[in-house]
């Protein structure tokens, strides 16, 4: 059966993908405390498993199959809308779309969420709010899946906000911790800031095109005034910046590590942050315009949305990598790494590397989820050991670990795979996808050498901080021997998902292997992913496709060299005695400390905020105060003196002439009031009756006029 026909027949399954986890979540939230208790995961994981099955066997594999059997030419797209409600004569719909991008995303998201949910069964086993956690994660997954299948901005926004809500709930999951509460609030408010822009963008698009649907809006964008399109794109990008934690709205993501680790893996690696990237990818026609040269003059500046995306992404990639280098909390390193990698993706999108960015989006989701879950496994183990030994240290601080490779082999090996993938070592997935982006930046249609250099430096830093993390955590001598002694590898429910994800993290880059081989002269293959997801699908909206770039072996070599040297530097500094000595000296050197302090204190972002906003405001207030006291008060005093003089004159006149008149009037009103006061009884019913009587009189007057006519 052709896949289009299948879509006709099985299209109704698509809404089930988000609906089943949502239903499970609702049941879990309502009945969790009543009778489900610790059985909630059966429900949520069951729902998620069904969703995963649907996503893989009814969506992803048929789409891939149809594309493959069609010789890689056939682009599949199916979309359906249901009328939702009528507002102002206009029908608002909700709907779903399935195309290649959706299919790939669905496959990735469902699989990861399923594995993370299984992982969480072990990780959260001892938590009192076990049931609630699973229900909320399920709702979160529903939000993400809803977002992926949405075919219009309204559905997308709803799902987007469900995710926002769930991230708030999950980050603040341990609400009894003050820091968790603050982090949740911060995440919610900061992302809301971005969403505001997104809402503006959507409203502009709706106002212009009269619809929320992607099709209609993209078609409208072809002929719409550039300013409107650019504004829409920038608005949407605001949302992306918030959700994907790009500079300057990146501040929430590291704090969000307050949530349980499965949440970190779920929200901050696999799904939620990639939603921002997905949004830009999905709305690409709005950014790209005709031939990628969409720009408009706004407030005197010529703004090209694509460039904005590229620069913000590139800057964030480098900026966050430098911060990650100096973090001591294992999860914060990963968090900043995520910010940095997302920057890569935006960079890729910004230079026209649509496919490369989507590719990196998928591979990154796998290896970052792997890393987060691995770190969770480490934290879980260390925490238990600390608890056992009654040591009250921070279980997330790498300074308290070391040498764990021996104690937790399963976690260690999977973590190693994730690290190599992230560092971009051949043949792990990160190597291919990162390479693609760098290739696009340096040789693509919108190439920019500065950004390329930034990307390469970031790649070096990535390798460095990951090797630092590895050496501090898994190698060397344990810093807390008695804790180390009692550390045990995590239970099967946690490590099994790790193994599964590790396979994907290792192999997800392989579709790009033929391209590499062909560059080396073996065969004439190309990046299979390029064929699967490409701009060709957007051709109908005026997006023109550049031919895929051939793999540049030199560049690949350079990138590998940079990664290896980054790892080498990490080994030297953190894996050898020499390095320890060097670090020791460096820490005693005030100048180096001062330099390191800058990224350590997050480039003074918080201080900057104070410096830019709070302090000037304070000064302005003092200035106003001074002006008030010195200038205005003096004037007022002068006027006051004059008034006193004048009123002395006026008093005589007042007492002798005016008062007489007033008294007469006063006596008159008092007399009237004496009669009228009987009406004011304070009783509502009296008032009502008098009111109705008055109304009757008025009506009679009116009617008489009408009747006469």
């Amino acid at each position: 059966m052709a896949v289009e026909q299948m879509a006709q027949h099985y299209g109704w399954l698509i809404p089930l993908i988000p609906a089943l986890p949502a239903l499970a979540a609702v049941i879990g939230l309502v009945c969790g405390g009543l009778f489900l208790h610790r059985r909630t995961p059966v429900l949520t994981i069951g729902a998620m498993a069904v969703s995963t099955l649907i996503a893989w066997f009814a969506v992803f594999l048929p789409v891939v199959g149809s594309w493959w059997s069609g010789g890689g030419e056939h682009a599949f797209s199916w979309s359906h809308s249901w009328r939702f409600f009528q507002a102002g004569g206009q029908w608002v719909s909700i709907g779903v779309v399935v195309d290649h991008l959706t299919a790939a995303m669905l496959a990735m998201v469902t699989l990861l969420v399923l594995l993370i949910e299984i992982y969480a069964v072990g990780y959260m086993a001892s938590d009192e709010l076990f049931s609630r956690f699973h229900a909320e994660v399920s709702l979160f997954a529903a939000g993400m899946l809803g977002l992926v299948v949405a075919n219009n901005y309204l559905t997308l926004l709803v799902s987007w906000e469900i995710m926002g809500l769930c991230s708030y709930l999950l980050i603040g999951f341990w609400y009894f911790k003050d820091s968790a509460r603050k982090a949740a609030k911060k995440a919610f408010i900061v992302t809301r800031l971005g969403d505001l822009g997104m809402l503006v963008g959507i409203i502009i698009a709706f106002w212009g095109s009269g619809s929320f649907e992607f099709d209609t809006i993209f078609t409208w964008a072809k002929s719409a005034p550039a300013v409107l399109v650019v504004l829409t794109a920038l608005g949407l990008f605001c949302g992306s910046v918030g959700k994907s934690a790009q500079f300057p709205l990146h501040v929430w993501l590291p704090d969000a590590m307050e949530g349980p680790t499965p949440v970190s893996a779920l929200i901050h690696a696999a799904t939620m942050v990639s939603a921002g990237v997905y949004l830009v990818a999905r709305s690409y026609p709005l950014f790209y315009g005709m031939d990628g040269h969409l720009e408009a003059e706004i407030l005197g500046f010529v703004v090209a949305p694509l460039k904005v995306v590229a620069w913000i992404g590139g800057f964030t990639a480098l900026f966050a990598a430098t911060i990650a280098v100096v973090q001591s909390d294992i999860k914060k390193v990963l968090a900043y790494s995520t910010v940095s990698q997302l920057g890569y993706m935006f960079l890729g999108l910004g230079v026209g590397g649509y496919t490369a960015a989507c590719f990196h989006l998928l591979t990154h989701a796998f290896f970052k989820a792997l890393l987060f879950l691995g770190s969770g496994s480490v934290i879980h183990a260390v925490e238990h050991a600390m608890h056992h030994e009654h040591v009250h240290e921070d279980p997330q601080n790498m300074a308290n670990m070391g040498g764990l490779a021996k104690k937790m082999p399963r976690t260690y090996w999977t973590f190693l795979i994730g690290t190599l993938a992230l560092a971009g070592i051949f043949p792990f997935s990160g190597f291919f996808s990162k390479d693609e982006i760098v290739l696009e930046v340096l040789f693509g249609a919108h190439r920019n050498p500065t950004l390329g250099a930034m990307a390469l430096v970031a790649a070096f830093l990535t390798a460095f901080y990951m090797s630092r993390l590895m050496f501090l955590t898994f190698y060397g001598t344990p810093r807390l021997p008695q804790v180390w002694e009692h550390t045990e590898d995590s239970p099967k429910t946690m490590t099994t998902p790790l193994l599964v994800i590790a396979v994907f993290a290792a192999l997800a880059g392989l579709p790009a292997l033929p391209a590499l081989l062909s560059a080396m002269g073996i065969g004439a293959g190309h990046n299979l992913f390029h064929g699967f997801i490409n701009l060709g699908a957007l051709a109908g909206y005026g997006v023109t496709e550049a031919p895929p770039l051939p793999v540049n072996l030199g560049l690949a070599g350079l990138a590998t060299l940079l990664a290896v040297s980054g790892i080498g530097l990490g080994w030297v500094l953190y894996g050898t005695r020499v390095g320890a000595a060097v670090r020791d000296t460096a820490h005693r050197t005030a100048a180096i400390e001062r330099v390191l302090d800058v990224p350590r204190r997050l480039y003074y972002m918080n201080e900057l905020l104070y410096g830019l906003l709070v302090t000037p405001m304070f000064w302005a207030v003092r200035l106003c105060n001074e002006i008030d006291r010195r200038v205005i008060d003096m004037t007022v005093n002068l006027v006051g003196w004059l008034s006193v003089a004048l009123s002395t004159v006026g008093r005589w006149f007042d007492q002798n002439v005016v008062d007489l008149l007033v008294n007469v009037v006063g006596a008159g009103s008092k007399g009237t009031a004496e009669i009228g006061k009987f009406l004011q009884t304070g009783r509502v019913q009296n008032y009502a009756m008098i009111g109705v009587a008055g109304l009757v009189i008025v009506m009679m007057v009116v009617l008489k006029l009408l009747g006469g006519a």
Binding site: Q86, A87, Q685, M689, V692, V696
Partner: protein, 190 residues
């Protein structure tokens, strides 16, 4: 409906309706008054039936008689000293109120008598089929009037919560866990 006059059923319903409505506003015993209200509302339901608005009649009985009057009766019994006979209520401003009310009635009737109402032929000739009425009403509720429908449900929800809060405020304060939480908060503040 047109041309036939209202028919005897109407007059029967109307007579009972007016009599029981007068009972509602004049009887001294609150429970009797409430029972009269039930009769009035039932008669109004009968009038709807007579006009072919079956579905509405059902709602009228279900919600008004089944719920509102029950609520009123329960409230009366809660308020009245239980099982004590002191349920009488008194009137005030009788004369003035009667005058105003009668004038209002006359005025409304005058307006009605002088208004021009153009009947809709589709309704008066072929529209009396109750089955189609019910279907049409349902479709109207879920299609063009969906928004007001939803707003009404929201209103009910808010009213429900409001009623609970108003009536239960003391019970909330008596709950031990809330008490403990309040105490804890005070201690923390202090």
């Amino acid at each position: 409906m047109a041309g036939h006059g209202p028919g005897p059923v109407f007059w029967l319903l109307a007579a009972v309706l007016i009599a029981s409505a007068l009972g509602v506003v004049t009887l001294r015993n609150m429970v009797h008054s409430a029972l009269c209200l039930a009769v009035t509302l039932l008669m109004a339901g009968g009038l709807y039936l007579n006009m072919g608005a079956d579905l509405l009649a059902g709602f009228q009985v279900l919600i008004y008689v089944g719920a509102v009057v029950t609520l009123v009766l329960v409230a009366i019994m809660l308020i009245a000293k239980i099982a004590d006979r002191d349920l009488s209520q008194t009137q005030a401003r009788g004369g003035w109120a009667a005058a105003v009310s009668i004038i209002v009635w006359l005025l409304l009737s005058w307006v009605l008598a002088h208004g021009t109402w153009t009947p809709n032929a589709a309704l008066t000739e072929g529209g009396a089929d109750a089955a189609r009425q019910a279907k049409a009403l349902s479709l109207a509720l879920l299609d063009p009037y969906l928004l007001p429908f939803e707003v009404a449900s929201l209103l009910l929800l808010v009213a429900l919560m409001g009623a609970v809060v108003l009536a239960q405020h003391t019970a909330l304060a008596e709950r031990s866990d809330i008490k403990a939480a309040l105490k804890e908060g005070e201690q923390r503040d202090a």
